[in-house]
């Protein structure tokens, strides 16, 4: 028969376990998973050299990778803007100068403007 004064039940209900966070836990798990995948494909694990995929996984965990990528993206965007501007400006200038040149050799354009055209001698 159950004793109502038994403190075990209330102790079990109030019991909580909160393990302290282990640094590098995620990376270690990834490494073990990848090492296990290497074993299942009959690849002999080489303890002297680290698994390249594990290093990649560690790199992703690097805290500054996202801010660095963002800075790089902004720099590349700025460079693209400047390059686009140079190309656009050059295209506009070429178009304008081509029309100016044709006006010196096309009688129809010369007479259309009814300007005091001069037949320039180089």
């Amino acid at each position: 028969m159950k004793d109502p004064r038994d403190p075990l039940s209330s102790a079990l209900q109030s019991w909580r376990h909160e393990p302290s966070p282990a640094p590098g836990f995620n990376a270690a798990v990834h490494e073990r998973i990848l090492a296990g995948q290497g074993n299942s494909h009959d690849i002999a694990p080489d303890s002297a050299s680290p698994v390249p995929r594990a290093r990649f996984a560690l790199a992703l965990d690097f805290r500054l990778s996202l801010p660095l990528a963002a800075c790089l993206a902004v720099l590349l965007a700025g460079a693209a803007g400047v390059s686009g501007a140079f190309i656009f400006h050059r295209t506009q200038t070429s178009d304008r100068m081509a029309l100016a040149y044709v006006r010196t050799v096309d009688p129809l354009l010369m007479t259309a403007s009814r300007a005091g055209h001069t037949h320039s001698q180089p």
Binding site: A77, V102, L108
Partner: protein, 144 residues
């Protein structure tokens, strides 16, 4: 707004700002002095090519002047024509003259393009060809 969207917007804003600022700065640059200076730098002309093109240009100017005078006369005649028959005849004259002028202009441009390096010549014709007033669309200007 999450991290990547914020940075994407920042990149777009940076690109737009860089584009606008560069365009504004470039507009303050002096334009090419004249058409010959522009052609020399744009189509990378050698001294020999530049001299030959100048010679062709000088040779063509009397023909151009003659055509100008004829076109002005034809337009004047069309303006002054009273009867329908006169107007039709004047319009036919003007149309014929416009075709002759256009042909002469295109011929001159092709001779200029032939002096340049082939790649530059093609690029020259693609730039100036569409600007010719009497350009027909049957076939674009190309190196002969």
């Amino acid at each position: 707004m999450n991290f990547s969207v914020r940075h994407l917007l920042l990149a777009v804003a940076t690109a737009s700002l860089a584009f606008g600022l560069t365009i504004w700065l470039l507009q303050n640059r002096p334009a090419p002095a004249d058409e010959q200076a522009w052609m020399r730098s744009e189509f990378k002309l050698t001294l020999a090519q530049e001299t030959e093109i100048a010679r062709l240009h000088a040779e063509y100017q009397p023909i151009c002047a003659e055509h100008c005078a004829q076109v002005l006369n034809a337009r004047e005649k069309l303006t002054r024509a009273v009867s329908a028959a006169d107007k039709t005849a004047a319009q036919a004259d003007l149309t014929r003259l416009e075709a002759v002028c256009g042909e002469a202009t295109r011929d001159h441009l092709q001779r200029v393009a032939a002096v340049m390096d082939p790649e530059q010549g093609e690029r020259f014709l693609s730039l100036v060809g569409p600007k010719v007033a009497a350009q027909t669309h049957d076939a674009p200007l190309g190196l002969k």
